[in-house]
C-alpha cells in the first residue's frame, strides 16, 4: 500500500452535531406503536374490537346507575328492567363503609381531622426536600394526637405514651456509645417499664381534658384499613431495619433472635397470626388484663410485615459493595454512624421497590381482619350491609367501591415510590 493512503492527520476536530431530524408527532407514534407490522396491525384491530365490546356492555350499567333510592327493591323499580347499577347503596351507606356502623355520627369529624392531619404529618417525611424539617416535630406528635382524636378519652394517656417514648430515647442515647444492639433493647425495656408504671398514675386522671371515648369495638369501615395500614407500615419499617441489621450482627444472641423471629414469622400464614391475636392470646394473658383487639392486630400485622421488610432490606445490604463498609470504617465512623449515614441510606434506596411491594401487600391484607369479626370495609360489606333487608344482593357496586378505594391508595403509594427513586438517583446513568 502506498504511504500516502495510510497517512492521515486531522486538521480540525469535528464539532458536536444534532441528531438527524425525523418526523415526529402523533402519526409517527401511531405507525411505530400500533401499525408497525401486519401482526401488530391485526393485534391493534382485535384490541379495539375487545375494548369496544367491554365498553359498550358496561357503559349502560354506569350511565343508568341510580344514586338516590332507599333500597335495592326501590332501585329496581326505578330502573324498570333496564341495565343499571344501584349506586344508591353508596350514597346511603357511605358513612358505614368509611367509619363502621357504631362510630358515633356526631364524632365523624374526629377521625376525619386525624385523616387530614395525617397528610400534614406525612409531608415532611415523604417529601423531605420540599417541606421544612421543623414539621418533623409535628410528625413526632402526630401518632399521639391521632390516637386521642380517634379513641378519645383523657389526654393523659397519649401524653404518658409520648413520655414513655422520650424515656426510651434518652436511655438509648446514653447506651448507644457502648453498643447499638444493647441500646435498642435497653431503650425498649425502659419505655415499657415507664408505660406500665404510668398506667397506675393515669387511671385517676381519666377526666383530664377528656374527649368522648370511643371503644375499639365501635370502629369500622375503611378507617380501620387505613389505620392498620398506616400504623403497621410505619412501625414495621424501623423494626424491619433493626431485624435486618440484627441478622448481620456479630453478637450471636442478637443474631439468632432475629433469625428465628424472621424465619418463624415468614413460615406462618398471616391469617393464623390474626386468629392467634383474636383468640389464643387471651389464654396467655393474666385473666384481668384486657388487651385491645386493634392493638393485638397491629402487633401481629407489624410482626408479619417487619419480617418480610427485614429480608428485603437484607437484600439491599448484600447488594452494597464491601468497599462502602471499609471506607466508612477507615474514616473512623463507629457502627451506628456508618449504618445511619452510609450503609442504610444506600441499602434502603436499593430496597425501595421491595419495601413498597410489602407495604402495598400489607395494606391490602388489612382486609383479612374481617375474618376475625372486625368490621373493616370488607367486614362491613359482607356483614351489616349485605345482610340488611334493604341492600341484599348489591355485590358489584359495593365491592367495586372498595376496590376503587384500595386502588387509589395503592396506586398512590406506587407512584410515590417511583418518584422517590427518581429523586434519589445520583449515579446519572
Amino acid at each position: 500500500m502506498p504511504h500516502d493512503q495510510i497517512s492521515f492527520v486531522r486538521k480540525h476536530m469535528l464539532p458536536e452535531a444534532p441528531p438527524p431530524a425525523t418526523e415526529t408527532g402523533a402519526v409517527k407514534w401511531l405507525r411505530e406503536n400500533l401499525f408497525s407490522s401486519p401482526a401488530n396491525t391485526l393485534l391493534t384491530l382485535v384490541s379495539i374490537f375487545v375494548v369496544f365490546n367491554i365498553a359498550s356492555a358496561s357503559a349502560p350499567w354506569f350511565l343508568n346507575g341510580v344514586w338516590d333510592s332507599p333500597s335495592i327493591a326501590a332501585c329496581r323499580e326505578i330502573l324498570d328492567g333496564r341495565v343499571g347499577g344501584c349506586f344508591a347503596v353508596l350514597s346511603e351507606r357511605w358513612n358505614q363503609l368509611l367509619f363502621g356502623f357504631k362510630y358515633p355520627v356526631e364524632l365523624y369529624w374526629r377521625p376525619g381531622l386525624a385523616f387530614v392531619l395525617l397528610f400534614v404529618a406525612g409531608a415532611p417525611v415523604l417529601f423531605g426536600k420540599i417541606f421544612p424539617r421543623k414539621m418533623l416535630f409535628f410528625t413526632g406528635l402526630y401518632p399521639f394526637i391521632a390516637y386521642w382524636l380517634i379513641w378519645g378519652g383523657s389526654i393523659m394517656v397519649p401524653i404518658f405514651a409520648l413520655l414513655g417514648v422520650v424515656v426510651g430515647a434518652v436511655v438509648y442515647s446514653r447506651v448507644v456509645t457502648i453498643s447499638a444492639g444493647v441500646a435498642v433493647i435497653a431503650g425498649f425495656v425502659a419505655a415499657l417499664i415507664f408505660w406500665i408504671a404510668s398506667g397506675y398514675i393515669s387511671r385517676p386522671m381519666a377526666d383530664v381534658m377528656a374527649l368522648q371515648a370511643v371503644p375499639s369495638r365501635d370502629m369500622g369501615g375503611f378507617m380501620i384499613n387505613l389505620m392498620l395500614g398506616v400504623v403497621c407500615v410505619s412501625l414495621s419499617l424501623p423494626l424491619g431495619i433493626l431485624l435486618a441489621l440484627g441478622r448481620q450482627s456479630r453478637m450471636p444472641i442478637i443474631k439468632w433472635i432475629c433469625v428465628v423471629f424472621i424465619e418463624f414469622i415468614r413460615g406462618v400464614p398471616l391469617i393464623t397470626l390474626l386468629f392467634v391475636a383474636n383468640v389464643v392470646l387471651a389464654y396467655f394473658l393474666p385473666p384481668n388484663v384486657t388487651f385491645d383487639l386493634i392493638l393485638r392486630v397491629i402487633i401481629m400485622i407489624t410482626m408479619f410485615s417487619s419480617a418480610y421488610i427485614a429480608e428485603v432490606i437484607r437484600g439491599g445490604l448484600a447488594a452494597l459493595p464491601r468497599g462502602q463498609y471499609e471506607a466508612a470504617n477507615s474514616l473512623g465512623l463507629d457502627y451506628a454512624q456508618s449504618m445511619q449515614l452510609i450503609i442504610l441510606p444506600q441499602a434502603l434506596k436499593i430496597s425501595i421497590p421491595g419495601i413498597v411491594n410489602v407495604a402495598v401487600g400489607l395494606f391490602k391484607d388489612t382486609t383479612l381482619v374481617s375474618v376475625i369479626s372486625m368490621f373493616d370495609i370488607v367486614g362491613m360489606i359482607r356483614g351489616p350491609i349485605l345482610a340488611s333487608m334493604e341492600w341484599k344482593g348489591v355485590y358489584w357496586e359495593l365491592f367495586g367501591f372498595a376496590c376503587i378505594l384500595f386502588f387509589i391508595t395503592c396506586y398512590g403509594i406506587s407512584q410515590y415510590s417511583q418518584w422517590l427513586e427518581r429523586q434519589l438517583r445520583t449515579d446519572h446513568r
Binding site: 471499609e326 477507615s330 473512623g332 465512623l333 444506600q346
Partner: protein, 255 residues
Amino acid sequence: MATEAQMKVSDEVAVQITKMNKWYGAFHVLRDIDLTVYRGERIVIAGPSGSGKSTLIRCINALEEHQKGSITVDGTILSNDLKNIDKVRSEVGMVFQHFNLFPHLTILENCTLAPIWVRKTPKKEAEEIAMHFLTKVKIPEQADKFPGQLSGGQQQRVAIARSLCMRPRIMLFDEPTSALDPEMISEVLDTMIQLAEEGMTMLCVTHEMGFARKVANRVIFMDQGQIVEQNDPEEFFNNPQSERTKLFLSQILGH
C-alpha cells in the same frame, strides 16, 4: 530528591509492627512481619499479587484483624477494643483501589462527613477544610457534584481529599492507580507526590515503580506473606539482592 527526603525522616516511630501474623482460615497470609515506620517516611510496598501487601496495610487500620504479634500506631496498640480501633482509624487515612466514595453524597458531603461526625467539627468549618483540600487536589469546582459524575482520576483525588480532611498523621494507599485509565494515573500520582513533599507519612501499595523511584525513601518487596527485601529505592532497583526480587523486577521493568 530521594536523598533530601531521607534527611527529613525523624526518629519518631509512627507505626511499629512486631512479629505480626495473619491467617484467612487455614491460609497463612502474613508471616512474622516486622516493620518500623518512622514519621515522615514514604514507603512503597511492591510484590506479586497475593503476596499479602494489601492485607498488610489493611491491618494497620484494622480493616483486617491480625491474629498474632502486635501493631502499634501512633502509640496506640491495636487490640479488639473498638474505642482504640476507631481512634486509630481517625488518625490514619486510607485510599482504596476502587475509590469507595459514597455515591449518595455530593463531593463536598463526602469530605465533610467524617470531620462533622467523628471530630465534631462545626459544619461551616468542616466545609472550609473540605474546600481547602479539594482546592489542593485541584477540583474545588466539582464540590456540588456526585461521585458518579466524575472521572476515575477525579474520584480518586476526591478520595485523597476526603482522607486529608480528617488531618491524618499517616496515609495508606492501597493500589490507588490500579483501576485508572492511563491518562488519569499521573494526576493522582502528582497529588501523592505533592503530599509526600509536605512530609506526610505514607505507605503505598503500588505497581508504579516510577513513583517509587521518585518519592519513596524505602521500598519493601513482599512475597508469600513475608518481607523479602527492603532497601532505599536506588539500591532496590539497581542492585536487588534476592533472586525473587530480581525476577520480579525483570518482569515488571522488562519492557
